[in-house]
Structure formats: C-alpha cells, structure tokens
C-alpha cells in the first residue's frame, strides 16, 4: 500500500497556493514534482562533493565519480539492465532517441530500408526519423491507430517486413495513456530481424520496467518525469549493440586515447568503454545523482504500488468525470489498456480555455497537442486538455477538479 499523506509531506511545492487556492498538480506527464530527498541529494552534492568526474585523482573528484557511477548502477537495477554498460545517461528521452538515430541509424540505415513508427508517437520519436530519412533516404512508415487511440496491431503486422530495420513505439501514449504491448511488438520485430526502440518516458516513472523481460533493444526515458531533476535521462541499449555503434557526440570522457600521428598529420582516436563512450563532455553529475535518489524513492514505495495507486486514481477520475455533462473524455473505454493519463475537452471551449479556467482555481493541467499532433489529427481533436496523475495526487484533488468543472459547466 502507498501512504499518500506521507508521500505528500515529502513534496514542498504541494504546500503552495496558486491564485489563492491549494496547488493541484495534474501535469505529471509533462514533468513531475520533486521530493525533498531529491532536492537534498542535489544540494548535498554541490555542498560537499562537487568536482569534475573521471578527471582527477584528488578526493573530491573520486567522491563525485563514485556517486555518478553508483547512480548508473541504481538506474540499471531499476530497469533490470545487465549493468552500467547498458545504461547511458543523456539529457532526456529526446536526446536518447536522437542518440539511436545518429549513432546507429546514420551508419546502418540504407535507402532500401524502412523504419516503422506508430502514429501515436510523441514528436520526439517521429522527427529524428523523418530528419534522418532525408539524409539516408530510407522510408519511414507509420503503423495506424484505432479510433479509441489504441494501436492497431494488425496494421503494424501488415507493415513490418524484412525491409524493416527498426520499430519505434511508445510504451505508454503521452496523450491517451494507452499502454502498448511492447513485449509482443519486440517479438514480432525480432522475427524480422528488426530492432525495437521504446519511448519509455511515460512508463518508467509509473510502472515496473524490466528491459530483459520486454526484450527490447533500446529503451529511452527521462528523469524529470520520475521525480529527478530536469536535464537527465537514460538510454538503455543492449550491450552488443552499443559496442558496435559509433559514438553520438565527440569530446572528452568518451575517448580512451587521442594520439597525434605526425607522419599522417592526423589524430587517431579510440573510444572509452561503455557507457562513457556515449557520454561526451562533462556530464550532468548532479542530475545523475538526483536521478539515483529519485529511483531509490520510487523503489522504496515499490513500482507495483505506484502502478496500482495510479490506476485507482485514474479509474476514480474516469468515473467521476461522467458526472460532468459537458466533458468528453477521449481514449479507450477499457481501463485495462491505459494508465494515469486522461485527455478531455469541455463543450464550447478550447483546451486552452479549460486550462486557463482551471488555473484560476489552482489546478494545473496541460492543454494543446502535447507534442503529438498526428495522434490528435487521427482521432479528430483540435487539441485536448490532459490530466495526468502521480503518486502524490489524491481522490480529494480529483473531487476538486470535478467540482470546478461542474462550476464551469453551469456558468
């Protein structure tokens, strides 16, 4: 069981009032709030351990390096990767996907190849592939979605072929909360010798993730959506793939040796071992340490408890929203295929109207396309308002949302 009152005590920002009302934060799919444990870990790092990692022999640098490496270990364990060599720290999901595009796709994809993407992807899992296809000439194909926002698995099966080199899919849609069966997709892709890249930005914070069990090749997620600071994220990759890949960025940290050959007037370069080969330059050490603390916090609660509590909240919200006559909820009706995200609109109002109205009452939720314009086009939405939940949200907050929505309806 999850003790939400105890959890809420850990989040200083939840004591704030906005526009005279207690803050209700329902934009967790965009970013999460941070517990005092994460804030303190970051402060502690800068107050006591800050130095550049892997660069110096002095005590502070050793401490910082150990903490940063430990952060990789904790995160690897959180997703059940084999070890830190499969756990690359990046800025976030977007950078992780771009890393795969440019360190793998740029070198491996040919004109005759295809990359299969679903139409429910966040722009960050569409744009890198469209951009790269202009350089490499391969084709990007889009697996269809059904009217309720769920993935049309048949369409994906129909489109996959021996030409397909990569399948890109969200674990959880950031608009509808639809959970995709990535294990099934990975099995299918591997039958065609295609790799699978999963955008886990909306799943890693909210449910247990076991990359070995899912059998995916790449899994990307962001720290800031799971209690950690912004600017830190993770790319999981299978070791044998990462070893064969070229580096993404060049610079310090990612090299083993750069030696000048005077006869050729060139430098020859060898890469550092994993994961550092993909972490060029001075890393976001403090972000990594914040992420470690966030992972510890979530592990302490238990990801099974997180997923079941959020499901309880989502089901409760979906039920109560039926009491609002002018509110339409989008996405699948079957609660089993979705998790803590509810897209909605209010009759006669744009999504931005809804968000601004709720903001007046201290309720924060997102409006617009949520960086998933193709999905909105397909399900016939001009835009949507989106309530998304996390471990510190309560049924009382959902009740307040309903009360305000009903007030708006009557106005």
């Amino acid at each position: 069981m999850l003790d939400v009152d105890k959890i809420r005590e850990d989040f200083p920002i939840l004591k704030r009032k906005i526009n005279g009302y207690p803050l209700i934060y329902f934009d967790n799919a965009a970013t999460s709030q941070k517990p005092i444990q994460v804030i303190s870990a970051v402060t502690e790092f800068y107050e006591h351990h800050n130095a550049n990692i892997h660069r110096a022999v002095y005590t502070l640098s050793q401490e910082a390096s150990e903490l940063y490496e430990k952060a990789h270990e904790e995160v690897a364990s959180f997703i059940n990767a084999k070890g830190i060599e499969e756990t690359i720290f990046v800025r976030g999901t977007t950078e992780a996907i771009n890393l795969v595009a440019y360190a793998w796709g740029l070198h491996k994809l040919r004109k005759e190849d295809e990359v299969l993407v679903t139409l429910m992807e966040h722009h960050s899992n569409i744009v890198p592939w469209e951009n790269l296809s202009k350089i490499r000439g391969f084709r990007v194909k889009y697996a269809r979605i059904r009217e309720d926002g769920t993935l049309d698995y048949q369409s994906l099966e129909d489109m996959i072929s021996k030409k397909t080199k990569l399948v890109c899919v969200s674990h959880v849609s950031n608009v509808t909360g639809v959970v995709n069966d990535v294990k099934k997709i990975a099995k299918l892709a591997h039958e065609f010798d295609a790799l699978v890249l999963v955008d886990g930005a909306q799943s890693a914070p909210h449910m247990p993730v076991d990359v070995k069990d899912l059998s995916v090749d790449f899994f990307a997620f962001s720290g800031h959506k799971m209690l950690a600071p912004t600017g830190i994220g993770v790319l999981y990759g299978k070791r044998e793939l990462l070893e064969k890949m070229e580096p993404f960025h060049g610079g310090g940290e990612m090299i083993r040796e750069v030696s000048y050959d005077s006869a050729r007037d060139r430098c020859s370069i060898s890469w550092n071992e994993l994961p550092w080969k993909f972490e060029a330059g001075t890393p976001n050490s403090c972000g990594g340490i914040g992420l470690m603390e966030a992972v510890r916090y979530l592990k302490n609660i238990g990801m099974d408890n997180v997923v079941s509590y959020e499901k309880e909240l989502t089901d409760y919200a979906a039920d109560r929203l039926k009491e609002c006559k002018k509110v339409t909820v989008f996405g699948p009706k079957n609660p089993k295929v979705k998790c803590g995200i509810i897209p909605l609109n209010v009759e006669g109002m744009s999504s931005h109207d809804v968000a601004l109205l709720l903001d007046s009452y201290g309720i924060m939720l997102r409006s617009g396309f949520h960086c998933a314009q193709p999905l909105h086009q397909l399900i016939g939405l001009k835009s949507s308002a989106r309530a998304s939940f996390y471990i510190y949200n309560t049924k009382a907050e959902i009740d307040r949302l309903i009360t305000v929505l009903q007030e708006i309806e009557q106005a």
Binding site: H352, L356, D359, H376
Partner: protein, 89 residues
C-alpha cells in the same frame, strides 16, 4: 516602450488547431491592464468574479483575474497587438 509592451509580459501562440493566442500580463501591471480592458470591452459574462467573457470589435475573448487572457480566431499576433493597443491605451 509601446503600450502593449508596458502591460504584456508574453504572448503565446498556443498549439492546437484553434490557434488560440494567450496573453500573459506583467504581474505588477495585471490589475491595471484588466481594469482598462473592462472599461473598453463589452462584458458578456462574469464567472466567479475572476473570469470575464468579453467582446471588442467583433473579437470575443476571455480575461482572467490571474492576469491572463485568451483570444480566439485572430489572424495572428499583429492583429492581437493592434486590439491590445486599443484596449490598453
């Protein structure tokens, strides 16, 4: 400084097919800005004393006591700035 820049911190073109334009007034000028707007625009409806539905020159918009406004169906920021200039002068 133009009259709009005097009162407005930011204008966001919100994403979505509606192309709503969101105006964020400067925090220390928001009450003055809202007062001026309410004097010039026609008030269609008031919700909870903090949300005003208004029209001005055939443009409907909402102003929030929190210091934000949403304008719909405008051609773009230039048209919005022209309306705001009249409202805030």
């Amino acid at each position: 400084m133009s009259v709009v820049d005097n009162y407005v911190a930011r204008i966001d073109e919100a994403c979505g097919e509606e192309k709503d334009l969101i105006v964020i007034f400067k925090y220390d000028k928001k009450d003055e800005a809202i007062k001026k707007i309410l004097e010039k625009a026609k008030r269609e409806k008031t919700v909870s004393v903090m949300i005003f539905e208004l029209t001005f020159r055939n443009t409907s918009f909402r102003v929030y006591a929190t210091g934000k406004a949403i304008f719909r169906k405008l051609k773009g920021k230039d048209e919005l700035r022209s309306i705001l200039t009249e409202l805030l002068s």
